[in-house]
């Protein structure tokens, strides 16, 4: 029976990341009491380095919603938000979860040990580096919490990035600095920002190294599992404080992965199908998905998601290397590029590269009702992978953070059928 097969061999470092996150939230509450500044900022190209350089505590409501989803408590927040009119179909499930959490006030002891959700902000910082929702969401937070908001902006790069784009970002960075200086009453120390950018660049480099190692057969780690580590990157890139110095997590992770590669240890005992995914995973079914695939010898070896800011379309993350002299333009050059903000052509190129470089047998995407910007090119990608690269592709219906859009039985049927398809394909390849 499939069920008896060993499941995913997970990365040890993830436990440390989770512990650190719990601590960061608890510490944040304490620091807030002592008058330190808390900032809620957006994922993607928001200059987190700047916040750390100015000793501002930095929290990501997007991540928080992913966490409440994987803790299976997000639906109550969704419903709280829906009562106020935040539509289940119209509004991003992250935003609904986050706003609902504010509306309903957090239930006692949730999330376990975190002192109850992320600390309430003194500063709001939104950079539109991919979806428009971020802006509407942060504007809604501003109206609800009455906290000062700064909005930074980048364009939609369905064309090559030009110098005017870079200087536009750089200008908004400069503006952002004076905003933060006003809010904190402190001046930015350029050396601190240089250091933070360096750390951040180091994280990009390490992360990229690790992701490259999954090109090995068998794949040393499960791409879904690695998201646990990647969390540290999107949260604490540029943070030097222990235990949240992301560089350290990634050095550990790299060591762990290199060790596995050296001894030809795979994340699965018997790796049979190498898969890629686009968009987000269903956070509330996160481990379930990895293990269900593992039972059938299938594993995600790469994804657009984890590569979203290490750059893979020829963009040089070396811009932010340690010790280099930086300008706001440089920071722009390394924060702007991001596949989520690319046009269809670029995304297809991107997927094809992943498929070839990682020797992928099939693609299983979640058709993500929760995020239009992540999913808008999916059907085009799928068509291209199937028709032009002969890579079987499955789209199953779901939402990154709203379990009510996910029907386990139906997903199982589709996964089973699809993996059976791959099986047949393999047989044909091997011949009789």
């Amino acid at each position: 029976m499939a069920e008896e097969k060993p499941l995913v061999k997970r990365l040890k470092v993830n436990e440390e990341v989770n512990a650190a996150m719990t601590k960061y939230i608890a510490e944040g509450w304490r620091a807030k009491k002592e008058g330190e500044k808390i900032c809620w900022t957006t994922g993607g190209g928001a200059p987190r380095e700047l916040l750390y350089a100015m000793d501002i505590w930095c929290y990501l409501p997007e991540v928080q919603s992913a966490v409440t989803a994987s803790d299976q408590v997000i639906v109550q927040y969704h419903m709280a938000a829906e009562k106020e009119g935040y539509s289940m179909d119209g509004v991003c499930p992250y935003a609904r979860g986050n706003i609902g959490e504010i509306i309903s006030g957090r239930p006692q002891g949730y999330p376990p040990g975190t002192g109850g959700g992320i600390p309430t902000p003194d500063i709001l910082l939104a950079f539109k580096t991919f979806c428009g929702t971020l802006i509407y969401w942060w504007e809604a937070l501003k109206r609800r919490l009455g906290v000062p908001l700064f909005v930074g902006d980048t364009m939609f790069y369905n064309r090559p990035i030009e110098d005017r784009d870079v200087s536009y970002y750089a200008d908004s960075m400069r503006d952002c600095v004076s905003f933060l200086e006003k809010q904190t009453g402190k001046k930015l120390d350029p050396e601190r920002l240089k250091e933070a950018q360096g750390l951040s660049g180091k994280v990009r480099e390490l992360m990229n190294k690790i992701l490259e190692l999954n090109k090995n057969v068998p794949a040393p780690f499960d791409e879904l599992d690695f998201m646990g580590t990647a969390l540290a990157a999107c949260w604490w890139r540029g943070c030097r404080k222990r235990p949240w110095n992301a560089v350290e997590f990634f050095e550990k992770a790299l060591a762990e992965v290199e060790e596995r590669v050296k001894n030809r240890i795979g994340a699965l005992e018997d790796e049979r199908f190498r898969l890629v995914f686009d968009s987000n995973p269903p956070w509330y079914k996160f481990n379930w998905l990895g293990d269900y695939l593992a039972q059938k010898g299938a594993i995600y070896v790469t994804s657009s998601f984890n590569r979203w800011w290490t750059g893979y379309n020829g963009f040089d993350y070396g811009w932010c290397m340690m010790g280099r002299d930086w300008s706001f333009e440089d920071i722009g050059r390394c924060n702007i590029p991001n596949w989520i903000n690319d046009g269809i052509e670029e995304r297809i190129k991107y997927m094809s590269r992943l498929v070839k470089d990682y020797r992928v047998d099939g693609a299983i995407f979640m058709d993500n009702r929760g995020c239009r910007i992540l999913s808008y090119a999916m059907l085009d990608e799928a068509a291209y992978l199937e028709r032009d690269l002969g890579i079987p592709t499955l789209l199953y219906e779901g939402s990154m953070a709203d379990p009510r859009h996910f029907d386990e039985e139906r997903v199982k049927v589709q996964l089973d059928t699809f993996l059976e398809m791959l099986e047949k394909k393999k047989k044909i390849k091997r011949g009789p």
């Binding site: 419903m79 009562k83 379990p403 009510r404 029907d407 039985e409």
Partner: protein, 259 residues
Amino acid sequence: MITAGVDIGSLTAKALIFEDNKILSYGIIPTGADSIKTAQNVMNIALKNTGLSLRDIGYIVSTGYGRVLVPFANKNMTEISCHAKGAHWFFPTVRTVLDLGGQDCKAIRCNEKGRVTNFVMNDKCAAGTGRFMEVMAKTLELSLDDIGKLSLQTVKEPCSISSICAVFAKSEVLALLRRGEHKNDILAGLCEAFASRVFNLLSVVKIEREFVISGGIAKNIGLVRRLEGRAGLSANIPFEPQIVGALGAAVFAKELSER
């Protein structure tokens, strides 16, 4: 003067005869495909044992799904206004009315005169409508009346019903049956899902006591208990919850005729 209210719902049609603030008589029949005929039939049934004829009725207000198709009505009004009015007639202190109709479910807030001050209706997802419960009763081969009682006699614990769509809830129930779950537990699960959805509607209009439940499903004791539990209030239920709409219409008819 004698007035009447006719409520052509999607599942049942009701007519009520009303004189100097008293209910003379009423009739309830299933809504047929031809609603004009249905309206006449139900009106005749209501008139039958009053010795009155249509000519004796001074003013008639129609309401419900088929409100525009009642040939002998002087005016038509929505079930929302009529349910508030009717509930207010039964319980003058009422401030919140929950009407669980066949096709949709409405939470209504009203003032001391029984006038609507705020209302919300269920969106497309049918959990929270009579149709939903009817489909489930059929699926479980039970009569609508049993559902409530049985749902309170759970064997293990309530099954969790995740789907809010009537159609998918149906297949979910079938799956539970295939897995050999006990009917009562499935029913309990259904009523839980139902109650939580309906309660959401109530909290949108901000539930205030006194609160009245009208419509056919008010007879579902399992649901009523669960709603009361969530609201922390005890609900007022008219002796015949299905006629509240028709009654409201008749009361409006009285007021309009006096203008």
